[in-house]
């Protein structure tokens, strides 16, 4: 249920942006979730629905998933993160703090932990739409 805390952050940010842009009703919110954080989509969606304020009454939440691309800073190798290659405890640690991937994952080519999470880290608010 740590998804709840992330959903709170999305609602807080979307509310701030809506206020700034003068949107009286928010109709669409698009959120991108990076695979690395392994957010449970249904729990996350449920939390968003529970937490939405009155100005989000008719909102549609679009939740897209981004594949996680890791890029080695030493040899330049690029590879995709695969959750099923991790044991349960490791996957859970990365779920809570995605940066601990550097503790448990190494470059598939040269073995270095010095890689960049080039894409697909965690939760990102992509866009919001609404009526003024």
């Amino acid at each position: 249920m740590h998804e709840w805390a992330l959903a709170e952050a999305v609602i807080a940010t979307a509310t701030q942006i809506a206020e700034k842009e003068g949107l009286k009703q928010v109709t669409e919110v698009t959120v991108k979730i990076g695979e690395l954080q392994q957010v449970e989509r249904e729990i996350f969606r449920f939390a968003l629905m529970q937490l939405k304020p009155a100005s989000f009454k008719n909102v549609k939440f679009h939740i897209t998933t981004a594949k996680t691309t890791l890029k080695c800073r030493v040899c330049g190798n690029t590879w995709l993160f695969k959750k099923n290659k991790l044991d349960k405890a490791t996957a859970e640690a990365i779920h809570f703090v995605p940066e601990v991937a550097h503790v448990y994952i190494k470059c598939l080519k040269c073995g270095s932990p010095d890689f960049e999470i080039a894409e697909g880290r965690g939760v990102w608010l992509e866009s919001i739409k609404g009526a003024k």
Binding site: M1, H2, W4, A5, L6, E8, A9, V10, A12, T13, A14, Q16, I17, V31, A93, I94, F96, V97, P98, E99, V100, H102, V103, Y104, P113, D114, I117, R121, G122, V123, W124, L125, E126, S127, I128
Partner: protein, 240 residues
């Protein structure tokens, strides 16, 4: 478009009385020991206190506390476990005893993540053990935590104090409150650090004598609170 995490950070910290980042200009000055002892002392006084280890690449407060089996509870966020009377949070819950080779951007991201999802609840004090120097953690806390205050630890060495001056200049420039300066591991009668602190317009909080016995108190908080260091930290706790 936007990283949603930063917008909830001050909300997560709103039920905390004071947030004190224990910092230093350079490493090896006993900052973690002072931070941990300060948190334990405040808790002993009856204050609801949290300790947050932000020294991600070289965490040590869990060793000082002897925190072995604690884990945060997951309930609409992460609830830090009670360790030795403190609500205690550290990256070691997730990194274990392994090396955490994090670059600046990773440190920033991990810090933002933990600030955004940790539910501290009601606290009188949150003591933060910072990494040394003026790095990402210092800049992120200044940027993200509205009510942050800094307590600076140094040794008597001019080398340490020169780096403190730079940290102080940055904080004063940005109008970030500084609680004061602590001179740790003092081995001479010199008043140099006290005088230089006063010259900077800051409060000199305490001088803590070098104590060879402190090493044997690591992992045993009862022993730690019975050291000369703890007696001096008690004075600091009165002033904080």
């Amino acid at each position: 478009m936007a990283d949603p995490r930063t917008s909830v950070i001050n909300d997560r910290l709103k039920r905390i009385g004071r947030i004190v980042a224990v910092s230093s200009g350079k490493g090896g000055v006993g900052k973690s020991m002072v931070a941990t002892t300060l948190a334990l002392t405040l808790a002993k006084k009856g204050c609801r206190t949290g300790l947050f280890d932000l020294d991600f690449t070289s965490p040590s407060t869990h060793i000082i506390l002897g925190a072995k089996y604690a884990q945060p509870r997951e309930e609409k966020g992460l609830i830090p476990p009670m360790v030795e009377g403190l609500k205690y949070m550290s990256l070691v819950y997730y990194s274990g005893d392994n090396a955490a080779p994090l670059r600046g951007a990773d440190t920033s991201n991990a810090l933002i993540e933990l600030l955004a999802v940790t539910l501290w609840g009601d606290l009188d004090y949150l003591v933060i053990d910072m990494p040394p120097g003026i790095g990402d953690a210092v800049l992120d806390l200044i940027r993200l935590v509205r009510r942050i205050e800094f307590l600076i630890v140094t040794t008597s060495s001019q080398l340490a104090f020169e780096t403190v001056k730079k940290l102080v200049a940055l904080l004063q420039d940005l109008k970030v409150p500084i609680v004061g300066i602590v001179e740790n591991m003092k081995m001479t009668e010199s008043k140099n650090v006290r005088q230089q602190t006063e010259k900077l317009g800051l409060k000199f909080l305490a001088e803590i004598p070098y104590d060879a016995k402190i090493e044997s108190a690591i992992g045993d908080t009862e022993k730690l609170l019975d050291t000369a260091l703890a007696r001096k930290v008690k004075e600091i706790a009165q002033k904080v």
